[in-house]
Amino acid sequence: MAEDIIRVLYLDDEEPNLFSFKAAFRRDFEVHTCDEPHKAVRMLDEHEFHVVLSDQRMPRISGVEFFELIMPDHPDISRVLVTGYADTDAVVDAINKGQVYRFVSKPWNEEELRGVIKAAYALNRSRVSSALQGHQVLSALDGFAEELGRCAADLAAGGDGAVESVGAELRNLQARMVDERTRYGKWMEEQKAKS
């Protein structure tokens, strides 16, 4: 799992910063950079990213505002705020509202930032896999409900051997539900172990 490619997007209005960032982290992550907020929004729509970083102070729009903008469409992406000057009020507000995962000040410490990005990726993964598990459990439950309905209909129609066939189907359904339960239990244990 650690070998997964981590896709990172960095938004900053100052181009030299973008280049530095790419040079620093290109070996560890798949780095994409952008100096225009609206371009960044388009890139997020077109590709899947795990982590997005933004400078706080930009003309026209601040980093926090940018995050607010993308949250509805990309709730799972981990958001990291980078700023050259401790605009404390804005940062505290953003973190409290859950718009920002981490806050990093310029000049950044490369190791620290790498760790932050990795942790952010992990958060993203866990969010994504949680969502996936949820989907799987829900669709399994949907399947079970559908089959139970069909059994009930067969039983009502009656006929020769109806009891035996419905009984066999119910036993089969039970076995599949136990399997699903076991699988989810295993995933839960995995998640616990990860964190």
């Binding site: 030299p16 280049f19 530095s20 102070r57 026209r60 050259g84 000049p107």
Partner: protein, 726 residues
């Protein structure tokens, strides 16, 4: 203090006058005798038309005259008097009529209708020197001796018979008496005249008139006035009346002065006025040609004598002590006049002594009045001395009081001065406190702008520092990989040179390493990283360069600086405090001459105004695209094409302000910001700095439209902000 008249002197005077009187009477003791022998018969001639030739026809109308001094009274009629009884007298004997006041006397010797002899005497005939006319006896004792007499004055007719040689003696003695009298009067007159001028007292002037007129009247009674004006017929006839009226006027005026009538007896003033009118009327009547009326008016005026007597007594009783003198003098005068009257009416014997009573009385009166005046003047002087002494005492007391008050005043002034000094000290203490508070506020404002600056500078610097540092790290890693590739290649080259068996493998490995590490990309990236480092270093240097402008926020040393640089530096240092909040359009004209200024302070001015402009736009617009601030720099040319001033214009499309705010923005403590957000000192300091530079600041603003700050820096004025800021 009661004033006592000097009685000793009074007695001395009285005695001397008495003996003087005896002497005079001795002189006069030559009166004619045998008067009883003469018989007088009178004939009235009312029209005065009777001729001498007709007199014998009127003998039946003759009346006998009784007494030695027959008095017919004042009449306009001519009187014919037949004198008889002289018959048998010696040849040398003469008839005399001793009344010099008679205007005309004609003596005639008549025999039936014939007039044998005629002699004229009296002022009316221009005779001025024969004051005692003598008439010869007729040669024939059967002839009649007639006198025709006519006068405006009382017809007193003292006829007498005397010897010729005795007449001369009589004349001499009369002259001597009058001369003596005149001498006394003149002495008194001159003496009082002298006193009048030396003392300047009004009473003395009045008194000299009294003496003069009384003397003249006495001359008139004796006919001596004719010596003065006898040749003027009108005066010869009216002189005595006029001088009598004048003496009345003078005496009344003097009485008014001397007795201080207005002060002691104001009611009497009216009576005096009435009497004055009587005398004045007499003079007027005489002038209008009514001599009889005039004479009677003067006689009426004689009422003033008892009036003055009563007045002086009353005045004396009221405390006017010199009035006693006056009373005595008038008393003597009245006695003399009364005796004269009694003599004229024949009650008193007409002796030489009684003839002298009137002049003697007037002399005594004049002398007494003279002494009275002296006494009064002394009294006045004494009272004036007393008053002076009192005034002196009062002024000494005043001086003492003034001195005391001065001392008190000085003390109070000293107290007040002390209090003022204390108040002054308090005030200067309060002023110092205020100045301290103001300094503190100014310091706060400086710190606030320093804080703004620091935030901007931190952000501006952190970006380049970030990529310089990051690039250096990346470059080191790239370098290591490059070195790794180079090492692999040099190993392969060495093996090839030695002809070693594994050389081919090493070459492949080196090639593989270069491919794997993407040598081309590494080379390109290294170059770019180095470029980034250089760019970052350059940018840092630029910011720090701009910062040098602010290095001397308090630096007072004026330097020659480019306002263009200062504006750019200010905007740079403000950084995203300005640029990320509004659209800032900077338009700096080239060829703007440098300005001799305190650059740090001017940067503070520019930053303050620009930040205000940005904040004003934030208050009005939601979107950054709508917020517009423009910063302009330009120069103003004069007529000779030389730059005369530099203009800095900062314009915004923000909220703008109303007139009241616009007028108050430069006031210290005035702020439109929330409490705690602004010191209210920013623009006040801006104004102060600009004033120090001789620059002006103009504000154009309209509510809801925007504001423009226009700063004008004159170039022609040589300013030295250092000296002003010191």
């Amino acid at each position: 203090m009661v004033h006592c008249p000097p009685y000793g002197r009074v007695w001395a005077l009285t005695l001397s006058v008495f003996f003087g009187g005896l002497l005079l009477s001795g002189c006069s003791d030559v009166g004619p005798r045998n008067v009883d022998a003469l018989t007088l018969e009178v004939l009235h001639d009312p029209g005065g038309n009777l001729r001498a030739e007709e007199v014998h026809l009127r003998l039946a109308a003759l009346d006998t005259l009784e007494g030695e001094r027959p008095n017919l009274g004042s009449l306009t009629d001519a009187m014919w008097i037949r004198v008889s009884g002289w018959q048998g007298a010696p040849r040398q004997a003469r008839i005399i009529l001793d009344n010099p006041t008679l205007d005309s006397i004609e003596a005639m010797v008549i025999d039936g209708p014939r007039v044998l002899l005629r002699k004229q005497a009296g002022a009316a005939f221009g005779q001025v020197d024969d004051l005692i006319p003598t008439f010869s006896l007729p040669l024939n004792e059967s002839h009649d001796l007639w006198f025709r007499v006519r006068s405006a004055k009382p017809l007193v007719l003292p006829f007498s018979l005397t010897q010729e040689d005795r007449v001369a003696t009589l004349r001499e003695k009369r002259d001597l008496a009058v001369a003596l009298y005149t001498g006394i009067v003149l002495a008194i007159l001159i003496y009082n005249c002298f006193l009048a001028f030396s003392t300047g007292q009004q009473a003395y002037f009045s008194y000299t008139f009294v003496v003069l007129t009384v003397g003249l009247v006495q001359w008139g009674f004796n006919g001596y006035d004719r010596l003065i004006w006898g040749h003027i017929p009108w005066l010869a006839r009216n002189g005595l009346t006029m001088t009598g009226a004048a003496s009345g006027l003078a005496a009344l005026s003097f009485a008014r002065e001397f007795l201080e009538v207005r002060r002691y007896t104001p009611r009497w003033n009216r009576i005096i006025n009435v009497l004055l009118i009587v005398y004045s009327s007499a003079m007027v009547a005489a002038l209008l040609g009514f001599p009889i009326v005039a004479y009677n008016l003067v006689n009426l005026g004689a009422l003033s004598a008892p009036a003055m007597l009563a007045l002086s007594l009353i005045s004396w009783r009221k405390g006017n002590s010199p009035a006693l003198w006056f009373f005595v003098a008038w008393l003597i005068f009245i006695v003399a006049v009364t005796m004269q009257a009694l003599r004229d009416f024949g009650v008193l014997a007409s002796t030489p002594f009684t003839a002298l009573l009137l002049p003697l009385g007037t002399v005594i009166e004049m002398l007494l009045l003279s002494f009275a005046l002296g006494d009064r003047i002394n009294l006045l002087k004494r009272s004036s001395d007393t008053a002076n002494a009192k005034a002196l005492a009062a002024s000494l007391e005043n001086e003492r009081i003034v001195k005391q008050q001065n001392a008190e005043l000085e003390e109070r002034v000293a107290q007040r001065t002390e209090a003022l000094a204390a108040a002054n000290a308090d005030l200067s203490g309060a002023l110092d406190e205020l100045k301290g508070a103001q300094d503190q506020l100014i310091q706060t404002e400086k710190l606030a702008s320093l804080g703004q600056m620091t935030a901007g500078i931190a952000h501006e610097l952190n970006n380049p520092i970030n990529y310089v540092q990051s690039n250096a790290t990346s470059l080191r890693r790239d370098l290591e990989e490059l070195i790794e590739i180079v090492d692999a290649h040099s190993d392969a080259l060495a093996a090839l040179a030695e002809g070693a068996s594994g050389a081919a493998g090493l070459t492949d490995a080196a090639r593989e390493k270069a491919r794997k590490l993407d040598l081309g990309f590494l080379k390109e990236e290294s170059r770019q990283l180095i470029a980034g480092i250089l760019e970052g270093a350059d940018r840092t240097a630029r910011i720090v360069g701009g910062l040098r402008v602010f290095g001397r926020m308090d630096g007072d040393k004026p330097v020659e600086a480019s306002l263009s640089d200062l504006l750019e530096a200010s905007i740079t240092v403000l950084g995203d405090r300005a640029r990320s909040r509004a659209q800032i359009e900077v338009n700096l004209a080239e060829a703007v001459p440098p300005l001799y200024c305190q650059s740090g302070k001017l940067s503070q001015v520019f930053m303050n105004i620009i930040v205000n402009a940005v904040q004003a736009t934030e208050g009005r617009w939601e979107e950054i695209e709508d917020r517009k601030v423009s910063v302009e720099l330009d120069r103003v040319m004069d007529a000779h094409g030389k730059a005369s001033a530099i203009i800095v214009k900062v314009r915004d499309n923000g909220t703008g302000m109303d007139e009241e705010t616009r007028q108050r923005i430069f006031d210290p403590f005035y702020t439109t910001k929330e409490i705690g957000k602004g010191t209210g000192f920013g623009l006040s300091i801006v104004k102060g700095i600009l004033d120090d530079h001789g620059a002006t600041i103009r504000v154009e603003s309209r509510l809801g439209e925007g504001t423009a700050f226009i700063l004008t820096f004159p170039l022609d004025i040589v300013t030295n902000p250092n000296s002003e800021a010191a």
